[in-house]
């Protein structure tokens, strides 16, 4: 992983004047709360979309707002406002303060800035790039996808970026500021086969990077890959149903970890005892081949954070080491309540949301087998090359994830494409059945968005080539 570069504290004007922030913090504490926090966010977004060969729209948006949180014990008061005048903000802070029921004159808060490392690969902010260049990306992607094969009949391409400036200040005196750029190019294709058959392909990527990223990760390559997926599965046979050996291709397959273990290690579920991983620290929960890391410090990673939405620095955390459960993902509140420290995992969708523990970039450490060796060792199974979305039930550990491109493995060889496959399992059981891990570690290209309790945040996932035995494949074939 890359080294962090220490940067001097920001010199530009804060998003809100510091004396006003201090006033808001005092107001949040005015009824006896133990902790107060002010979160200021200014987000500007640009998006362009292309459909049926035409640039359908270009759009921009700008949203600014303030969220105030007051905590007393396990009790949280939260209020927010997109009205930035002092009176409206003071009302907001007083509303959050209502969680406590006393009356107290809080002492003054004095804020000091913490210098932050930077894990982003952004020299020039995305908001400074001319929209015409962003439009050019979707045009190129569209042209490449259509040129790939004549059976590609529909192409949709979209590019979106966001420049999000945040300021977090709390009554412990911490003040953190960060500018989080994020972009993503995505292309989806529909291939038309015989007798009304339709297959889809989707590819794209981005991250906390600037526009130079697309020099290497070219729109043409994105368009071709989306087209390739749609064409590759034309004529696919129904996926065989029932338990079997699967080999997962590297990259976005990391969603397996995200669903099968990641969510279950988030400290809110652990504190409430509603996750099947609660109370299992130090226990063996996966095969010895499994080491799972959540890493907010990946250079340019979609889930990377110089600072989380509570002002704590991004971290690299080993969650499972050689099969043994080592740690959970903590935000401020759940860490405080259980005598732990925050792991920089407190995230929120926007100022309209209270933070909660979330993942950043979650990946499996590489093993020592080549992908070819892994495949050769499978007499009969399913090779999963591209993946859709997934979901998990935290308490019983049931997870699913969708396979958008899959092939039969016969005598160690990838043979026919299959359609309609999905994987289902119980987190720890699936991880105990991991029987080979490849040396080809790979983070996804920067596509993922994770939803929890109605809040979405950008995340990264990663997995080398992995073999898992006895996984239930949902399908309709024999």
């Amino acid at each position: 992983m890359p080294k962090a570069v220490q940067k001097p504290a920001a010199v530009r004007a804060p998003l809100l004047p510091l004396p006003l922030i201090e006033k808001l913090l005092s107001a949040a504490m005015s009824r006896g709360a133990e902790f107060g926090e002010v979160y200021v966010e200014r987000a500007t977004t640009t998006a362009v979309s292309l459909d049926e060969g035409k640039v359908r729209s270009a759009q921009v948006g700008a949203v600014t707002g303030v969220g105030v949180r007051a905590i007393r014990g396990a009790q949280v008061g939260y209020a927010y406002s997109d009205d930035l005048d002092e009176a409206a903000l003071l009302r907001t802070a007083q509303t959050a303060a209502l969680i406590a029921e006393g009356n107290r004159a809080p002492g003054p808060v004095s804020l000091s800035r913490t210098p932050l490392p930077t894990y982003y690969q952004v020299k020039q902010p995305l908001s400074g790039i001319d929209v015409a260049r962003k439009i050019e990306l979707v045009r190129e992607a569209n042209a490449a996808a259509r040129a790939h094969e004549r059976r590609i009949k529909q192409v949709m391409a979209g590019y979106a970026d966001q420049t999000r400036e945040i300021l977090v200040a709390n009554t412990l005196g911490h003040l953190a500021e960060d500018r989080q750029d994020l972009c993503r190019l995505g292309v989806s294709c529909v291939a038309f086969g015989k007798g009304g058959e339709r297959r889809t392909g989707f590819y794209g990527g981005g991250g906390r990077v600037d526009f130079r990223f697309f020099e290497d990760f070219s729109p043409a390559q994105v368009g071709r890959e989306a087209a390739r997926q749609a064409i590759a599965t034309l004529g696919a046979i129904p996926a065989p149903a029932g338990p079997q050996t699967v080999v997962l291709a590297p990259g976005w397959s990391g969603i397996l970890l995200h669903e099968a273990v990641g969510h279950g290690l988030e400290a809110d579920f652990i504190r409430k005892g509603t996750s099947l991983f609660a109370g299992k620290l130090g226990e063996k929960v996966a095969s010895e081949l499994v080491t799972v890391i959540d890493d907010g410090t990946v250079a340019g990673g979609r889930g990377s954070l110089n600072v989380d939405d509570e002002g704590n620095p991004g971290e690299r955390k080993v969650l499972i080491e050689k099969g043994v459960l080592k740690g959970y993902l903590y935000d401020h509140l759940n860490a405080k309540l259980t005598g732990q420290r925050s792991t920089g995992s407190g995230r929120r969708q926007s100022f309209r949301h209270a933070p909660m523990p979330r993942m950043t970039n979650t990946y499996l450490a590489p093993g020592d087998q080549t992908p070819e060796e892994i495949l050769r060792g499978v007499p009969k199974g399913l090779y999963c090359r591209q993946f859709g979305g997934g979901q998990v039930d935290i308490s019983n550990g049931n997870f699913v994830f969708e396979i958008s491109e899959a092939y039969l493995i016969e005598e160690g060889e990838i043979t026919r494409p299959v359609k309609g496959a999905m994987l289902i399992g119980v987190g720890p059981e699936a991880l105990k059945n991991v029987s080979a891990v490849g040396s080809d570690v790979s983070l996804d290209p920067g596509l993922g968005t994770c939803g929890k309790d109605g809040q979405t945040v950008p995340v990264g996932v990663g997995l080398p080539t992995v073999r898992i035995d006895n996984v239930t494949v949902g399908g309709t074939g024999a």
């Binding site: 929209v131 019983n396 309609g420 289902i424």
Partner: protein
């Protein structure tokens, strides 16, 4: 629309200002060079409580606002949104939208609805009682739900969350083609998610109720009891063998099945021949017991509103009539492109362009009770919760993770988890052989209990 708007304006100054914002923005856009423009603004108020183990866990309250501006300059589309309602803020928005339009392609179908398309259907319900809910009432309700849940079964001791809340929304639209209207909506909700525990297994279930009238909200102790029973009955869940068997979707899961299906009647996907239903208009696509409507005028419906996201008057559209596919759903742009009429199905928020979506998407009730459907099932899975997104309306495939209860000879045998239900969407629709009488409008996409005669269950 204009005529009906005036009284509301007198009653409430604040709402009037929202329409004023839209009208100002339309003028500013035209000054900035737009040939046509449309502004949509919203103000919302939300307030919620969460409790756990008898204590208050979270109080949340806020108001929020925003406006989005869609402009056309010589057939090119630009869109800008923001939260700054100041004169300068609005002017900036108008200038951005107009300048962005220059980069988009000229498209002859880019037009705003006008004339008789615009108008006002029945109002969605607005309950002043929700406006005035006392925060203490919400806390009492949430505590009562949690207490009732804890008394159902000794194995239900933990809670993920229990809460109550309300949501009020006012919106306004104005356009250079004569759209001008305001609407408002109120919602109150209550939910409980208990966790049952036995023999090292944890099972969460949840039950929620959302209504536009406070008086119609389910009693808190009932919400808690239902949730707890749903969690407890899942204990001991296990896989079943891979096989073909009947699938019974409980109302919420049947609603989820419909929601997955709704993309297939989206006029845009249909026009692009990217829906498995694209060529089947007028054909029998489902069992005769299936009648499905999109009805934005439905009394008491959560999705009821007087006009759609472009100001087009709300209507009732029969999508499937006794198994025959009767209509797709359109907004103005796609309708023009496809040579159809808008069905008033443009949906949007202030930060998004209008796009095609459902209002109240409801499957007609049948005549048998859910109990009778279970009793009449020899072997099958009663699906009570699902994982994943399921339907792929482009390819027509369906595969989704399921939890539920196994049925043998009309009786519930044991709980089931870690299986998937799969099939082609057309086969599943045609195999619907029982429709329950238990339709409830607690969500905008709603269905009674449905039984599918046979689908593939993948397990051990």
């Amino acid at each position: 629309m204009q005529a009906q708007v005036t009284p509301a304006r007198r009653r409430n100054e604040r709402e009037a200002s929202l329409l004023d914002i839209c009208e100002q923005l339309v003028k500013l856009a035209s000054k900035a060079g737009a040939s046509d423009s449309e502004a949509y603004a919203e103000r919302t108020r939300e307030s919620s409580v969460k409790v756990r183990d008898g204590n208050v866990e979270e109080l949340q309250q806020a108001t929020s606002k925003g406006v989005g501006l869609r402009v056309f300059t010589a057939g090119r589309l630009g869109f800008a949104y923001g939260t700054d309602f100041s004169k300068d803020g609005l002017r900036g928005l108008a200038e951005s939208a107009v300048s962005l339009a220059k980069g988009a392609a000229k498209d002859q179908f880019n037009e705003l609805p006008r004339g008789r398309q615009l108008g006002r259907g029945p109002e969605g319900e607005y309950d002043p009682a929700i406006e005035d809910i006392d925060p203490a009432w919400k806390l009492r309700a949430a505590h009562a739900a949690e207490r009732a849940a804890a008394q159902v079964d000794a194995r239900v001791r933990k809670f993920d969350a229990t809460g109550a809340g309300d949501f009020l929304a006012r919106s306004a639209i104005a356009s250079s083609r004569g759209a001008s209207g305001e609407s408002r909506a109120s919602y109150a909700y209550l939910y409980c998610s208990p966790v049952a525990e036995a023999d090292g297994q944890l099972q969460t279930a949840s039950w929620a109720d959302t209504r536009r009238r406070l008086s119609e909200l389910q009693a808190p102790d009932e919400v808690g009891r239902i949730a707890a029973r749903r969690a407890a009955r899942m204990l001991g869940a296990r896989k079943v063998k891979t096989q073909k068997a009947a699938i019974i979707f409980e109302p919420q899961q049947a609603g989820g099945f419909l929601a997955g299906l709704s993309g297939a009647v989206n006029g845009d996907l249909v026009h692009k021949k990217s829906s498995f239903l694209a060529k089947l208009l007028g054909k029998r696509i489902a069992s005769q017991q299936v009648t499905l409507v999109d009805d934005a005028t439905l009394a008491g419906g959560l999705g009821t509103r007087p006009f759609d996201g472009e100001g087009v008057v709300s209507q009732r559209t029969v999508v499937i009539d006794r198994g025959v596919l009767e209509s797709f759903l359109y907004d103005t742009y796609t309708a023009r492109k496809a040579g159809a009429r808008s069905t008033g199905n443009a949906v949007r928020g202030w930060s998004s362009l209008p796009h095609i979506g459902t209002s109240n998407f409801v499957l007609d009730r049948g005549s048998v009770s859910a109990e009778e459907i279970v009793r009449g099932t020899k072997r099958g899975l009663l699906v009570t919760a699902m994982l994943g997104s399921g339907a792929n309306v482009v390819t027509g495939e369906y595969s989704r993770g399921a939890n539920g209860l196994w049925i043998e000879d009309g009786q519930i045998a044991h709980a089931v988890q870690e299986v998937t239900v799969s099939g082609s969407l057309l086969d599943l629709l045609q195999a619907i052989d029982a429709v329950g009488n238990d339709l409830d409008l607690r969500s905008s996409t709603a269905s009674p209990t449905l039984r599918i005669a046979e689908a593939v269950i993948s397990g051990s």
